[in-house]
Point group: C2
Chain length 222, copies 2
């Protein structure tokens, strides 16, 4: 499970909801361009972000609002972001790999329950290798849902997830405020007007989309 | 500020409360023995713990219950523990270095307020380099006290401490349970009866002791 609440996994979920064919994730930009060039020009989009901002020459930045049906329908998105796509690449060898934001928390949790997964690794993307409040919040949100809705026992086996659960219980009634309190939220606020992005990324359980890796680096709705 | 709730900084605080002259902390055991040997035999005690258990040949293990007035009064404690004393050594170059557990949270916070410190680094000792729930809880307890009681503005500048604050707000009415839920608490429970240690380590604001480094590696009540 890879989480990047602000904003990669939220963008991925919305893109799939809005009819994108698939999303191929890259840490490396040269590799991204190379792969995209092999694709039909009218069936591809380049989506890239560094430091919160769109990469020059790319079609789209990393905003869930930009991946509307008109824009993404039927297309493959070649995507690279500061943190989220790096995380997705780092764990691409696992058996089942999902991407989750807050909007599709329930959908992903139900998928996990249906798989009767024995071990779940939750990877918060954070910011350039460090801890982030909003990804931990979402990890807690997922754990909380599983604890309540599984008919088998759920064991929280490390202190990080125990803390994430507490974080969720503390902030769950004001998710938007939590996202804006987080350092990454403050960073976004300082570089532009991201009000609608914040709202979109904080909306819980509104999307029935489970983004799953179908081949290495390629994500589809499952 | 170094925190090791279970149990080094709690033990240090209680030892000073009970009349210990000073505590000298060591990461390295050979160095500890060398230094202790230069001290008067009847004015020294060796206190050591690895993996929760007393080190063989040492006078005391790392329990706040063992450092009674009868045992420690007037003595220097030569101390090494799995995590807490390592943390104290790691940051021994800072201008003001304090050790805090939950029992002396208020005392240490008041000291910080009186110093009008501009930057406070809170170091949770954790477990062998990894995150721990109980030390984060105490970091949150300290931040919470400072936010409420400072007459100058307190800025929480990273997500780790924001999360610690949420952790504190979630668990503050059942600190004992939090300590037992933590992986280190479970580890202690699995190796012996630490019920009284848990109670002692979870008692908030009962000690007016501020353990401060007075020379490199040497801690006295201030």
């Amino acid at each position: 499970m890879v989480i990047d609440v602000l904003r990669a996994t939220t963008t991925i979920s919305w893109a799939l909801k809005n009819g994108a064919d698939s999303i191929q994730v890259f840490a490396d930009l040269e590799l991204l361009k190379e792969s995209a060039n092999k694709w039909h020009a009218d069936e591809r989009l380049l989506l890239g972000e560094r430091g919160g901002k769109k990469i020059e020459g790319f079609d789209l930045g990393n905003s869930p609002l930009s991946v509307t049906n008109e824009v993404v329908n039927g297309k493959r998105l070649f995507m690279s972001t500061t943190n989220g796509t790096k995380s997705l690449q780092k764990v691409q060898h696992v058996k089942h790999l999902f991407a989750m934001g807050l909007p599709n928390r329930r959908a992903v949790a139900e998928k996990i329950i249906s798989l009767k997964a024995e071990n779940i690794l939750i990877l918060g993307s954070g910011w350039e290798g460090s801890y982030s409040l909003e990804d931990s919040l979402a990890a807690g949100a997922l754990a909380s849902y599983l604890e309540t809705n599984c008919d088998f026992e759920v064991k929280i086996i490390n202190d990080e997830l125990q803390a994430a659960l507490a974080l969720w219980n503390f902030w769950k009634n004001d998710i938007l405020k939590c996202l804006k309190t987080a350092t990454h939220g403050k960073r976004l606020t300082s570089i532009g007007d991201y009000e609608e992005d914040f709202k979109c990324c904080s909306e819980l359980d509104c999307l029935d989309i489970v983004p799953a890796q179908v081949e290495r680096g390629v994500i589809r709705a499952s």
